[in-house]
Subunit: 298 residues, 2 copies
């Protein structure tokens, strides 16, 4: 539709990463107090329900009794978040209309009904997921883990939920133990910064964002938990932000000897663990190599 | 609304993880050929555009010239996926209506217009994201990385995009190099299995899912790339699935000595690297401890 102005400067291709199709758009959906329709009461529906409840959604479950025991349990322990309608969903003739929900999920064995629900939801632009039927899904769920404010999702484009779970477990191991404190600390610092420099977008928003990035670059992940201290935050904002500077952990003064030794202790433990894993694996490899060599030398 | 049947068995609370509110619902949205409205033509809009293009969406960008150079570049290199309307968006009076899109994103400095777009989208149940204004977002973007079919998103509940990026980089390092081949292999095996045992849900669907899980448990992540071999897949399905068994890597025959040595070489390298990191850090810690000790002993 548009003509680029003749003077438009276009940077050479090499600067921009190539588009590789076939991805999903990964999103963190906010559902606090929003209504979600969940059709089905079995073990798959139970998994969906867990994540919906954690997101604060209000879930209407349409499914005849008996329910999966974990759904029955949630119904008793989180009654304010769940409305249970104990019958099968009736499709187009049902008085529960898909357009009254922010999202529709089905997890039932009735293929025809699932398809009808999918059509109804799409006509009304309501995002829909039909468990186990990829073409009838506007979105997939992935393997995931959570550490307080940190949430990580692993999606394999439906290539295999189990391999997603295996990768999830590896990634969970790679996250520092005190990550929640680090994220909290940065969150507090950002909140204080916004109080000093309020407003949305524009030059100030840009300057605020750039300063936060520089702070995060100057501070190792393992040190960021220190931002939870109000005095430290004030100092970083007074002597840093206000003066157009970024203070490093060195600038604000090292930790006390006690704190430092505590951190060393942890670091030393990791190092020894890493080194001993190295030594043990090395020994095992050596033994296997010798065994194979002898076996084939015979 | 419902009464649980008196006989309903409810497993004790300890069995089920507690609900911790405050999470987002993490989703992988599928946008292949679906229309998305992107209002804004700056650097933030450019970031959004990249992920939308990778997801196969058709993007209508409403933004006056000049555009961010990378958007201008995409317009020239992916014209079939982008329609550019070179003017400001007009809100309710605009002939481009939010209800014609699967998703609406704004990335402009005009706070009033952003709010109007948010209201319009919510009235029509179209998911909306207003950059930098969390209360006007139905969903957030997170830090992310991609390795072929594998996509990983890191969300920090808006606590800080930069710390999300730092965690992203740590996680990316924890993923095996050949992960794409492993996921592809599992995907091929699943596809072949579905050909032999077609249909959705029910007993067969459950049996199929359980068998795939057992296969993934029996095979180390690093060996799964072998599933890309059609002969191996046939054997695993003939001698495994058809007979209600799961073949392990040992069952299908070890790799050749060459293959094994190649894998050992890689493993040995990692071990030595790990061990030397351990030794070097240990030495550094020792030196620092000695220094501190001498300093304070004075």
């Amino acid at each position: 539709m548009s003509q680029l102005a003749p003077s438009a400067t276009v940077t050479p291709a090499a600067t921009y990463p190539a588009i590789r199709h076939g991805a999903s758009l990964l999103l963190a959906f906010r559902l606090e107090n929003r209504p979600v329709l969940l059709i089905g009461g079995g073990v798959v529906a139970s998994g969906r329900l867990f994540f919906l409840l954690e997101s604060g959604a209000h879930v209407t479950i349409v499914a005849p009794l008996p329910l999966d025991p974990s759904i029955a349990y949630r119904l008793l322990s989180n009654p304010e978040q769940i409305t249970h309608v104990p019958r099968d969903y009736q499709g187009r003739s049902d008085e529960i209309k898909v357009e009254n929900f922010a999202m529709v999920l089905t997890a039932i064995d009735d293929v025809e009904m699932s398809r009808e629900v999918c059509h109804m939801a799409r006509e009304r632009h309501v995002p829909v997921n039909v468990a186990d039927v990829p073409p009838e899904c506007d979105f997939y769920f992935g393997a995931q883990f959570r550490r307080g404010p940190l949430q990580v999702m692993i999606s394999t484009q439906g290539m295999g939920p189990k391999i997603g779970a295996i990768i999830r477990d590896r990634l969970a191991e790679a996250i520092p133990d005190d990550i929640e404190s680090a994220i909290e600390g940065v969150g507090e610092l950002r909140k204080d910064l916004r109080k000093r420099a309020p407003g949305v977008g524009g030059e100030l928003g840009k300057r605020r964002m750039e300063w936060m990035i520089k702070v995060c670059e100057a501070w190792p992940l393992e040190d960021m938990e220190r931002f939870r201290d109000q005095d430290l935050r004030n100092r970083i904002l007074d002597e840093g932000w206000e003066k157009g500077k970024v203070l490093s952990p060195e600038d604000v003064g090292a930790e006390t000897i006690q704190e430092r030794l505590a951190r060393w202790g942890a670091g030393l433990g990791d190092t020894l663990r890493g080194a001993s894993v190295g030594v043990v694996s090395g020994a095992a490899l050596g033994a296997m190599a010798t065994y194979l060599y002898l076996k084939h030398a015979r």
